[in-house]
Symmetry: C2
Subunit: 419 residues, 2 copies
Amino acid sequence: MSSPASPAQTICLTKAAQVVRPPEDGLPFLRHDRAAELRFDPVPVTIAGGTIAAFAETDAELRIDASGCAVVPGFVDCHTHLPFAGWRAGEYELKVSGASYEEIARAGGGIAASAAALAEAGDAQVLGQAKSLADEMLAWGTTAFECKSGYGLSAEGELRALRLADELDRLVSQTTVSTALLAHAVPPGYSADAWMDEVESLLPRVADETDATALDIYVESIAFSNQHLARLGELAADAGLALRCHVEQFTGNRSVPVALEHGARSVDHLACLHPDDLEPLAASECAAVLLPGAEFMAAERTAPARELANAGAICALATDANPGTSPLVSLPLVIGLAVRRYGWTAGEAVLAATHNAAWVIGLHERLGSLEIGKSADLLLLDAPIEHLPYRLGHNPVLAAFRAGELLYVRADTAARFDV
Amino acid sequence: MSSPASPAQTICLTKAAQVVRPPEDGLPFLRHDRAAELRFDPVPVTIAGGTIAAFAETDAELRIDASGCAVVPGFVDCHTHLPFAGWRAGEYELKVSGASYEEIARAGGGIAASAAALAEAGDAQVLGQAKSLADEMLAWGTTAFECKSGYGLSAEGELRALRLADELDRLVSQTTVSTALLAHAVPPGYSADAWMDEVESLLPRVADETDATALDIYVESIAFSNQHLARLGELAADAGLALRCHVEQFTGNRSVPVALEHGARSVDHLACLHPDDLEPLAASECAAVLLPGAEFMAAERTAPARELANAGAICALATDANPGTSPLVSLPLVIGLAVRRYGWTAGEAVLAATHNAAWVIGLHERLGSLEIGKSADLLLLDAPIEHLPYRLGHNPVLAAFRAGELLYVRADTAARFDV
């Protein structure tokens, strides 16, 4: 279809069964103990000039009949490893049959395999795969997402990965941000300490040559330590970049206090979070990024997400899209896994995949919630949000807007658009 | 697009990366200890007159470039509860937050809620919902499926449900069969014994007025007993209908020996299968129908699927699509859940969702495997089958054929069709 909505148009969505909005306090996030304050009243939504202009009916160039539908913010995928090259499906088959990480590494698997694939692939090939995944993510309702480097495993490799992320931003329909995951695995020929020296000398080029807004590290027995996390925290503060970290995934390392001490924006995974670290995390402005897709696919423990939410943490959900531990890109599926594993409500899950996810990637002022003046990034879903986790695998997205522009519409939905 | 393929056409699929075929012994099923004998060699596939005519290149009216793709049999969903009315999303939210079955029942949930919804809904409404789900199933690759009654909960209600299943068969693109699940829950006002008397007197009308080919029963502490299963087995034998049964789902009842004694075609669920019943089941021609979607959504135990496969059982996979315990319709998702939970290979899962599923519903002579003379029910997938469980939530179906007719094609796939 020719696009019936451009950012300049005035659009009014009417008759929705639910419009999901935060309470009226204008905070940059909503702590999960306040999720019950989400508002669901079926107000009309008017978009003008690409932003949310009013929650009232107005004269509009385009009217959309949202009967029976939910209107929610566009999903924000705040933890992905795009762009990457190729897949590791064979490794997954070994993994589910019980092969150990060592066996998989010996069979040529793991991060090293994806690093080799990235090094071998041309830029166009990497971008083509990532663009195709971004299109798929859009069809599942993702209107903003994070990219990470991390498969470069050399100074030049990491810079190339970040440049590819910047190029991807120009290719895709979504808003993106990029994170320099400079400490993902210890590159061959380095000790972890020596690689951190390399990271330090790399940082000026990251700042000059790329659009990265955050630094990231993987703290795990097979990767980096809490000492390295502390060092990266200092480097991030010096460089004016946000600090993020992969922590407590397969083993408990008490990394969360270190992350909090260094003002991390997020701690991601948390399947092995130490009970004593839960309250301090919940009291902080550091988000708990939960990745139930990775938990399921990599057979991790379940993060204490119910407890984090009850304690008032800023919880976020993401796909962790990557070719190893979480080769999935659908946030509705992640919401389904989260609700089942965590005992969350649909509202808690939607909050975690929108408003709080926008906080994680630093775009909370622009997007992530349906508030007047924010970018009109929103989805029309085919049913109230309680159906999102319940109809596991179903795609409920009828239409996706970013900045008031209709980016995606399901084929059977055209009749709702009265141009 | 106008349909480029009609049953009369000769079609040739060439250059596929994989074509999934059984060994050449022509058996009506493939026991899972022989799954490694599946053949994957990339032969051309020629379709003529709606059937598979040759595994060789031929002159064809339509040539399809299957480069990089897998060609697999159309998925057969051998256990669904279609047609049903409405959904029970609110109940699911109670369930994940830890509400007991009793609490859910008191809140108006459970089978009784779906029975009330079915009774209140007009035929057109029920058929409209089921047709919409069937279309969604087709887009996920399901070219044949089973329907069940069971939400009638009265003699007339069950007959209506079976008549609706027969009408649905005429509405949908897929091949369907219907099963009379006459003993699903004990209807209000009856004892289980008294309801079985009613079932017995209902059977002549089921045979005369409906197309049902099987009888089914739910054996569980809250439903029917092994004695009722034995009685239904005798009734099925007398009526010339197949016997199927929901057993060992939430509690262990040692129902499998009773089912085997009565020549059941399948035993479904099996999360609580007794270890002593595994070998006799595996040695029989009774299929083990595994429902990992229901296991996940209803927080059941995991069926001993790896052990059943190793012991040579005829394993099948299905969605159990229903508004209570398993509101999902995607067999690729079920394959993903199965491989992760069961430690199965992708080949084992595809076998269970095609060839052995066709055996369960008695259509094994016509469909379920890529063999010469069988109906050309097949799928073009966008990658080798190892990607099916690995890319959880992704829809790999580029095109779906039933009896040589192109029923579904993904929008970006047209270039592969050289008409």
